[in-house]
């Protein structure tokens, strides 16, 4: 009796061990299949995206060479972005979310036109200088576009110019402010003063009229 009971116990123990081994085997098989699917997906994605772009040699054509007279008084390199989201419906039922990002890298500067500076001799070594208003200028240096699905966005968004315009406006809103213009004017006065002092002049600037919320006041 005791022998029967212990052999029953042993066989049920062996059965449990067998089930665990069975389960472990299933986990391993499932893992291998999952990794294989992931490997194929990665390879298919790699088909879509080139590793390194090398351009063909092509000539550079100089279109124009123009004289300029500008004084750049301040600048900064800025990067900003906008995002766009869309939902794609597979078979009209199954939704899939898509996102894309348009980044813009620009060099934003304030400059003055040197042709518009007016010099009025005052006394022997004094010059009264009237500076024009500073101008905001932005030069684009990179425009990367990123998305989760290039094929989808190529069809959904024929042109990225609209997104780029939004980023440009965002950057301009942040930098083309009254405070930055005031600071740029101060830098312009310092640059012109330094140049004229080398020539033996003392410099006085015509004051600018500053607009405030209350009305026009002298600075």
């Amino acid at each position: 009796m005791r022998n029967e009971h212990s052999s029953n116990k042993m066989s049920s123990g062996l059965q449990n061990a067998g089930q665990w081994l069975h389960f472990l085997f299933l986990i391993i098989i499932g893992g291998v299949i999952g990794l294989a699917i992931y490997g194929v997906k990665t390879w298919v994605d790699a088909l879509k995206n080139p590793q390194e772009i090398v351009l063909e040699n092509s000539p550079i054509a100089i279109e124009s060479v123009r004289p300029k007279g500008e004084l750049y008084v301040s600048s900064a390199i800025v990067e900003d972005y906008v995002t766009l989201h869309r939902t794609e419906k597979h078979l009209g039922l199954i939704p899939e979310e898509h996102s894309c990002v348009q980044i813009l890298k620009q060099k934003v500067s304030f400059k003055i036109d040197l042709d518009k500076i007016v010099y009025t001799p005052d006394t022997l070594n004094w010059l009264i200088v009237t500076l024009p208003d500073v101008e905001y200028v932005a030069s684009t240096q990179n425009t990367p576009f990123m998305s989760d699905d290039e094929d989808f966005w190529e069809k959904e968004l024929p042109s990225t110019n609209g997104l780029k315009r939004k980023v440009e406006q965002k950057i301009r809103k942040r930098y083309d402010t009254a405070e930055n213009r005031k600071r740029a004017n101060k830098y312009a006065e310092e640059a012109v003063t330094a140049m004229l002092m080398q020539m033996g002049y003392e410099v006085r600037f015509t004051p600018k009229i500053e607009q405030s919320k209350e009305g026009l006041i002298g600075q």
């Binding site: 351009l55 750049y72 813009l104 001799p121 990225t160 002049y201």
Partner: protein, 204 residues
């Protein structure tokens, strides 16, 4: 039969679990965005005079069949088909001088005639950039085999490479004389506006 179905179901669930946890394109996208430090950058003081603006046109040509070579060792090169793209880029370069490196000497010769001598260093690129917006009508793109269409990301990368190629080219050797001449004209007119009769502009 039941056991077989149960096993298949377990395998399928495990495979799906691994697949879903491995990849998240939205997270990858978020990692590549500019940081706050890049977005909020301070305006730095400058004193650069621009004397010449150069407009340059480059046609960026990309042909994957010439740059991607098949090798058995690298699965990334196992691609069937090619991508080709042609995009024109307009680059604007502004040459000039840093006023802080300028030296101006005041040389008086006679009482009624005085000369200002200005020493200019070598000109450098003060500002550079390319056209932000793409004229879609001027872009030529094609793809064959299993390759996907030439998308926006690839087009922007091609434009960036074209812009870098223009910057690397020593254009100052072609337009150096124009830059020098424009600088002489500009400084002469500025100094004469102050009442000086003679200006000598010397360039390195």
């Amino acid at each position: 039969m039941k056991n077989i179905l149960k096993n298949l179901y377990t395998i399928f669930c495990l495979a799906a679990l691994i697949l879903l946890s491995c990849d998240n394109p939205q997270k990858e996208l978020k990692k590549k965005l500019p940081s706050k430090a890049d977005i909020v950058s301070e305006l730095k003081q400058k004193a650069d005079i621009v004397t010449t603006e150069l407009k340059v046109r480059k046609v960026a040509i990309y042909d994957s069949s010439k740059s991607e070579k098949f090798t058995w060792k690298n699965p990334n090169t196992w691609k069937w088909g090619d991508q080709k793209c042609i995009i024109p880029i307009e680059v604007t370069l502004k040459y000039g001088y840093d006023l802080r490196n300028l030296s101006i000497r005041n040389v008086e010769i006679e009482e009624d005639s005085s000369i200002v001598v200005i020493h200019l260093p070598k000109p450098k690129i003060i500002d550079a950039g390319y056209n932000t917006y793409i004229d879609e009508g001027s872009v030529v793109k094609m793809s064959t085999g299993l390759r996907s269409e030439v998308g926006h990301a690839l087009q922007e990368e091609i434009r960036r490479k074209g812009y870098e190629a223009v910057l690397k080219d020593e254009l100052i050797s072609s337009v150096g004389e124009d830059v020098k001449r424009n600088a002489q004209t500009l400084f002469t007119s500025i100094v004469k506006a102050m009442g000086w009769k003679h200006v000598v502009v010397e360039v390195e």
